[in-house]
């Protein structure tokens, strides 16, 4: 089974319900798309992330009503450094889509989606704890896995695997 080359053309991928809906709503929020290994990734403008999530959740034809996962990837030292990754699932249509928002390394912050899915609460706290990305509007943005007085954010790429000694 050879890997098919990824598709990055928006026009070709419009048949996917999530992308179709976003382009129809406001095509300027879609920065980039990529269909690779049977999975669709949409890069969206970080200012619009909460609205995009709400639009996809309430999309009548294919409601992406379930937040499967929320995490982050650190692309240090390149800029924009962080990518916050959202995996959405439509329970009724069995469709998945991955949303991504790029953040700068200097003071990474993005709007919280806890008002769209309360499920984001723990996931965003975990990303804040391990990557130092701030989620504005989160009701309780505190460290979760690491102790409260811990210094640094362990999953950042410039944090050594053995920790600071």
């Amino acid at each position: 089974m050879a890997l098919a080359p990824p598709i990055t053309d928006i026009e070709q991928l419009k048949s996917h319900p999530a992308l179709g809906r976003l382009v129809e709503w406001n095509s300027s929020v879609v920065q980039e798309v990529r269909f690779d290994r049977e999975e669709l990734t949409i890069w969206v403008a970080k200012e619009a992330i909460r609205e995009v999530c709400a639009i996809l959740r309430d999309f009548a034809d294919c409601p992406f009503n379930y937040l499967s996962d929320l995490t982050c990837v650190d692309w240090y030292p390149s800029e924009p450094r962080f990518e916050v990754v959202y995996h959405l699932l439509s329970i009724s249509k069995k469709e998945r889509v991955r949303l991504k928002a790029r953040l700068d390394g200097s003071s990474p912050a993005i709007e919280s989606v806890t008002s769209v899915w309360p499920a984001a609460n723990f996931f965003e706290r975990e990303v804040f704890d391990l990557f130092g990305v701030r989620f504005t509007g989160h009701p309780n943005l505190k460290r979760m896995l690491m102790p409260d007085d811990w210094e640094g954010h362990p999953l950042r790429k410039d944090y050594p695997v053995e920790g600071y000694r």
Binding site: R96, P118, P139
Partner: protein, 404 residues
């Protein structure tokens, strides 16, 4: 759907009135199934708010993965959700195989289904035993651990380990199942439905058990979806989803099984879902045994899959590949994959990012217990302290899976 007010996920602070008090439950508490700590705000016996405090078992597995070769990550995945090690192995292997574009031979796929369902039985038996013991039924615990012992013996037969199996490898299986393995599993599978009847005789109609579980810790389907509940917790609230059926992986499309769904949304509904799943799982085991194909157990991809020992002794190339995989690992084409699998606790997802080198750039585990723990606060509010114990048991958390 309306916007959710953020107050429903607001957590416990200082007691605001003289009438309430803060009660610390855990991290060393027998009913929290590990080092889970709950801070309860209570008014008499009534729970007003619950705040889970986690992180006591945080081992930084995600960070460790980034420093290992792809094949070295497999043993780490066992340690995440230690009650279903094979499901963790499977999810990770499927994710990397998807990144590589590897095709897995049928026998390996069927063995994966077989072992995965035995793992589900193992995990549900631990859940049933401890959940019943929390609610005062000691005998069920002994019965469940009797059958669990059989399942662990099967794990030992195939992998040499009872719990940290690492039996699934990227590209297939570690070893051929030993002679006599299928006969033993067949014997167990024939007997097991009778064992489930025994558990049900003790619990399902039991008035004490019913009083402790019926109508307790209610979760509405809307809340369950919005708060990210998964697995039997979600199906107990009437949401019909099972990834084995809805997004089949590793050959689940060849098997016939029902997905138990209950609409009551209480502890008893989640109990019934899991017990019904035990019966469905043993049905899948029977089908897997009956239709087990013959053939290789590893993919034909010498750069990724370790060669057989015998070949290494006679063939130069096999020895070279072995040396290269062990010392340098194998490179994986750049890209990213999110692989979700229906674990005993719900949607277990592995998000693996590759940058084209021999080490994963990022591995993120979406733990089903992590997601399910969020709904605990919602379930317990307004209930009694004793019901918190029933609620924890009903969402079946494994702390290794929460903290990673």
């Amino acid at each position: 759907m309306a916007e959710f007010p953020t107050t429903i996920i607001e957590t416990v602070g200082e007691p605001d009135q003289d009438s309430t008090m803060i009660l610390n439950m855990g991290p060393q508490h027998p009913s929290t199934h590990g080092v889970l700590r709950l801070v309860l705000e209570i008014d008499g016996e009534t729970v007003l708010r619950v705040k889970p405090e986690i992180g006591y078992l945080h081992t930084g597995i995600e960070k460790t993965c980034e420093a290992k070769f792809y094949q070295q990550v497999v043993p780490l995945t066992d340690r995440i959700d230690y009650l279903c090690p094979m499901t963790n192995n499977l999810t990770y292997c499927l994710a990397v195989e998807k990144l590589l574009g590897l095709e897995i031979p049928p026998k390996a796929q069927w063995m994966r289904v077989l072992m995965n369902e035995l793992t589900r039985i193992n995990s549900h038996l631990v859940w049933l035993g401890t959940h019943a013991m929390d609610l005062g039924a000691m005998t069920v615990f002994l019965y469940c651990f009797r059958e669990r012992e059989d399942v662990l013996r099967f794990f030992e037969m195939v992998s040499g380990q009872r719990m940290m199996t690492s039996y699934f490898r990227i590209g297939g299986l570690a070893l051929e199942p030993p002679i006599g393995f299928f006969e033993k599993v067949k014997k167990f599978a024939d007997r097991f439905p009778g064992n489930v009847d025994e558990y049900e005789n003790l619990l399902t109609g039991n008035p004490i058990f019913m009083m402790r579980t019926k109508g307790v810790a209610y979760l509405s389907p809307e809340d369950a979806i919005a708060m990210g509940a998964c697995g039997p917790t979600l199906r107990g609230s009437g949401v019909d989803i099972d990834l084995r059926r809805d997004a089949p992986y590793t050959g689940y499309e060849n098997f016939k099984f029902k997905v138990p769904v209950r609409t009551e949304g209480d502890v008893f509904a989640r109990y019934l879902c899991r017990v019904a799943e035990l019966r469905e799982s043993i049905g899948i085991v029977q089908q897997a045994l009956a239709g087990m194909p013959e053939g290789p157990i590893k993919a034909d991809s010498p750069k990724v899959v370790l060669p057989d020992r015998e070949k290494m002794k006679t063939q130069m190339e096999a020895l070279i590949y072995h040396f290269k995989i062990i010392t340098e690992g194998f490179t994986v084409p750049a890209g990213e994959v999110y692989q979700a699998v229906e674990s005993p606790r719900g949607e277990m997802g592995y998000y693996v990012v590759s940058d084209g080198t021999a080490k994963p750039y990022r591995v993120h585990m979406r733990g089903p217990s992590f997601a399910n723990l969020q709904v605990l606060a919602k379930m317990c509010e307004g209930g009694l302290i004793a019901d918190v114990i029933a609620a924890i048991g009903s969402i079946d958390v494994v702390v290794g899976d929460i903290d990673r």
